[in-house]
């Protein structure tokens, strides 16, 4: 990441200097540098260190992490949702939004209560098979049609899935997993590579 930034800054500078002569723009390289430095500062502030949840209680946050990881797990190719920062992202947004607090905070309470009803213990204490059974119930809308007592759980999980996707696919890990190539400087746009049928 450090190397990326250096090159990004250099490119920015080069481009700026390139247009400075006779430009209608007042290009001030100092400001350009400051711009890049701000980005670095933002990145550093998010680096390492144990995360202290802003909204969820410690136990709830563990459950949240467990659900995020179940939605987008680590595999041989790349890390999962927790490593991608999805749970931190969700906690941050939730700490700022009372609707999210109701639907996610309340949703986690619902999940634990449902697990206690079915298995006699909260979600995190359930064994993997029980957790899977629970998730299989709330991960599909059709289950709520068959059993309306699941509908709040299905609603909760669908929203959590969307936010986990946000967190995962906007991370460095997720973007690389998707194979997005871009956000760079090209002198010419190459167009579409030759592919049969396209």
């Amino acid at each position: 990441m450090g190397a990326d930034l250096v090159s990004r800054r250099n490119v920015l500078k080069t481009l700026s200097i390139g247009v400075a002569a006779g430009s209608v723009l007042r290009v001030i390289p100092l400001e350009a540098a400051e711009y890049a430095h701000r980005i670095i500062a933002v990145e550093k502030s998010g680096a390492n260190g144990a995360y202290t949840p802003k909204f969820f209680r410690a136990e709830q946050y563990k459950t949240l992490q467990s659900l995020c990881e179940a939605i987008f797990p680590a595999d041989v190719e790349c890390g999962g949702a927790v490593e991608a920062g999805a749970s931190e992202f969700i906690d941050l947004l939730t700490s700022e939004n009372t609707q999210y607090q109701l639907s996610l905070g309340g949703g986690l309470m619902w999940l634990d209560a449902e697990c206690v009803d079915r298995f006699g213990k909260a979600y995190l204490e359930c064994d993997p098979q029980q957790q899977k059974e629970m998730l299989d119930r709330i991960a599909y809308r059709k289950n709520a049609v068959a059993d309306t007592s699941l509908s709040q759980g299905v609603e909760f999980f669908a929203f959590l899935r969307d936010l986990t996707a946000d967190g995962f696919f906007t991370s460095k890990i997720g973007i690389e997993y998707l194979g997005y190539i871009g956000n760079t400087y090209l002198t010419e746009f190459p167009g579409c590579p030759a592919v049969p049928g396209v």
Partner: protein
């Protein structure tokens, strides 16, 4: 008792608003030798601090979703250049009962040009002669040929890419070479070719070659974030710096114009404005005034400028100010194109917007509605963002490795289509001063009235059918309307209400295409228009309007390029008058 008045600074021209129209006026007038003072209701812009070009989502704690996720599915992601808002705290607007209208306003140097789509289409000859051709609406007091030289000047100065195509009523311009099509665009063009729909390189105010000291585009697709190298056009980076370089330009930021004040001779002498930083009221004096605050904001200022000579608002003897409000007809539909699954990972970014588009291809043919629309489209392997996977998650549900793989497989295979069509002005769509509400600066606010006409609903329906045809001919499957066209089952078998009819047609909510215009229209007859053929008030010789308020029609072409061409023409006229000593 005699009073000694302090020597008052009088500028040659005061321009109200710093966007496309105001910026163009400032450039042309200062280059012509006049001193210009500009009022902007928002702060000054600093691209190096304010733009988030090339920032990755993971470099921001909210990943672009903004505080509390408020930017999910909104136009204003955290990455966007400072641009504007659907709602501004302390500055409300109201809508009449049973009316839906949304008004997007900017409060920043450069106005909405900081984020606009850069789509730069000329109005065509027929667009200026609407009434002569089909009997609806009105003709402009000027012909295309009179504006054409100013389109040339604007394009040559700001830089617009495109190609000479000779499409009827979609005039070619002064073009830079276009970028190559993306994979998504290649697929759509093939489908259009089979359907007889014209699909050609788009026309966008983005440099594909260096121009006037600005660097060429570096193809990061992030025009909406603001471009630090100004390879795309904005008033703040292209018009205002040129005005500044003359030494004759003064910008007063955070200045909310409240009222335009007449002198004893019936000419305008000053603008009263609120300094938002001190909440104090100031006046700025000039010999001529160019109002370019955006169509509805300009109407508001004129309507709020009442005097004995103009009890219904400045230059409003005709009563037309606020009337003839239109927006573009908008409708959209998306399709999934499975052949894109086979395309290897590659850089798909391109410019910030479409490389190809479809101008109105049925001009002069028999249609079941009047006027026409163009089609914009986009999609493919863009930088992932928040909200971008809601669709695939809703479709496949579940969790775990299979969902993760499905997201990757589906990524970048969706193409969205959006129509932009012409609305014919109607009696029921207008804005006026709300008699009961003021904003936090004490300025009475606008109240909107809105209704789409039958012609617009038919047009929107046609858009939906066309998008479906293109998607299916191109080998894709329709993903269900974004405008919820098909979701209103409750109305079946009953008389449709107006809003239900609008929903069924898939038409956009009024104002949401952000092409609202026409509210201080120009014309030859002072009884039916507020401005003459030079965008000069019929009744106040040193008052001009230079945004989209003077437009007589809202053709199926995005208005910004025409705002600039018209403002350039108005400004040259003002310069001439000033030289003659008439102003």
């Amino acid at each position: 008792m005699a009073q000694i008045a302090p020597a008052r600074k009088v500028y040659d021209v005061c321009v109200i608003g710093s966007g496309a129209g105001g910026g163009t006026a400032a450039k042309v007038l200062t280059e012509g030798g006049l001193s210009v003072v500009m009022l902007e209701a928002g702060p000054a812009l600093n691209p190096y601090k304010d733009f988030k070009e090339h920032v990755w989502p993971y470099e921001l704690a909210h990943r672009g979703a903004d505080v509390g996720g408020r930017a999910r599915h909104e136009l204003n992601s955290e990455f966007m250049a400072p641009n504007g808002f659907w709602e501004i705290e302390g500055e409300p607007y109201t809508t009449a009962p049973d009316t839906q209208f949304r008004w997007f306003r900017s409060r920043i140097e450069g106005g909405r040009t900081n984020h606009w789509g850069r789509i730069a289409l000329r109005f065509g000859p027929a667009d200026f002669r609407a009434r002569s051709i089909d009997g609806r609406g009105d003709d402009w007091p000027i012909a295309y040929e009179e504006l054409a030289p100013y389109y040339d000047k604007v394009e040559a100065y700001i830089g617009v890419f495109g190609t000479k195509e000779n499409v009827p009523n979609a005039p070619d311009g002064v073009f830079l070479p276009p970028p190559k099509p993306r994979c998504t665009e290649t697929i759509v063009k093939k489908a259009c070719d089979r359907l007889g729909i014209i699909c050609i390189p788009s026309r966008m105010a983005i440099l594909t070659q260096p121009l006037n000291g600005r660097a060429a585009c570096h193809y990061c697709a992030q025009c909406g974030r603001g471009c630090v190298t100004a390879a795309n056009f904005s008033s703040s980076q292209v018009m205002l710096p040129r005005a500044r370089s003359t030494g004759r330009f003064t910008l007063i930021p955070n200045a909310m114009a409240r009222e335009i004040v007449l002198d004893k001779s019936g000419k305008v002498e000053a603008v009263s404005y609120i300094d938002k930083t001190t909440r104090g009221e100031n006046r700025v004096y000039a010999r001529a005034f160019v109002v370019a605050a955006s169509a509805c904001e300009s109407s508001r200022l004129l309507l709020n400028s009442r005097s004995n000579s103009f009890p219904d608002g400045l230059a409003n003897g005709s009563g037309v100010i606020g009337r003839y409000l239109t927006d573009s007809v908008g409708s959209s539909l998306a399709g999934y194109f499975p052949q894109l699954e086979k395309v290897p990972a590659h850089n798909h970014d391109g410019v910030g917007g479409m490389h190809l588009y479809m101008p109105w291809w049925r001009f002069g043919q028999k249609n079941d509605f009047l006027r026409g629309y163009h089609i914009e489209f986009g999609g493919g392997r863009h930088m992932p963002g928040v909200g971008g996977f809601d669709g695939v998650c809703a479709q496949y549900e579940g969790y775990g490795p299979s969902l993760k793989q499905q997201c990757r497989k589906s990524y970048g295979n969706v193409i969205g289509f959006a129509g932009r069509g012409e609305m014919i002005p109607n009696e029921k769509s207008y804005c006026e001063i709300d008699p009961n509400v003021v904003d936090e600066w004490g300025i009475p606010v606008l109240r909107f009235h809105w209704e789409w006409g039958e012609n617009e609903l038919k047009m929107s329906k046609h858009m939906q059918e066309t998008f479906r045809e293109i998607i299916e001919t191109g080998g894709g499957t329709v993903l269900g309307s974004r405008t919820q066209a098909s979701e209103d089952h409750s109305t079946e078998g009953r008389a449709l209400t107006d809003s239900a009819k609008a929903k069924a047609s898939g038409i956009s909510e009024g104002g949401t295409i952000i092409h609202e215009l026409g509210t201080v229209r120009m014309g030859n007859d002072p009884k039916t228009s507020a401005l003459n053929r030079n965008c000069q008030a019929h009744s106040v010789k040193n008052l001009f309007v230079a945004d989209a308020a003077p437009f007589v029609t809202n053709a199926d072409k995005n208005p910004t390029l025409t705002i600039m061409a018209l403002s350039w023409r108005t400004s040259e006229y003002l310069l001439e008058q000033a030289k003659k000593g008439d102003i």
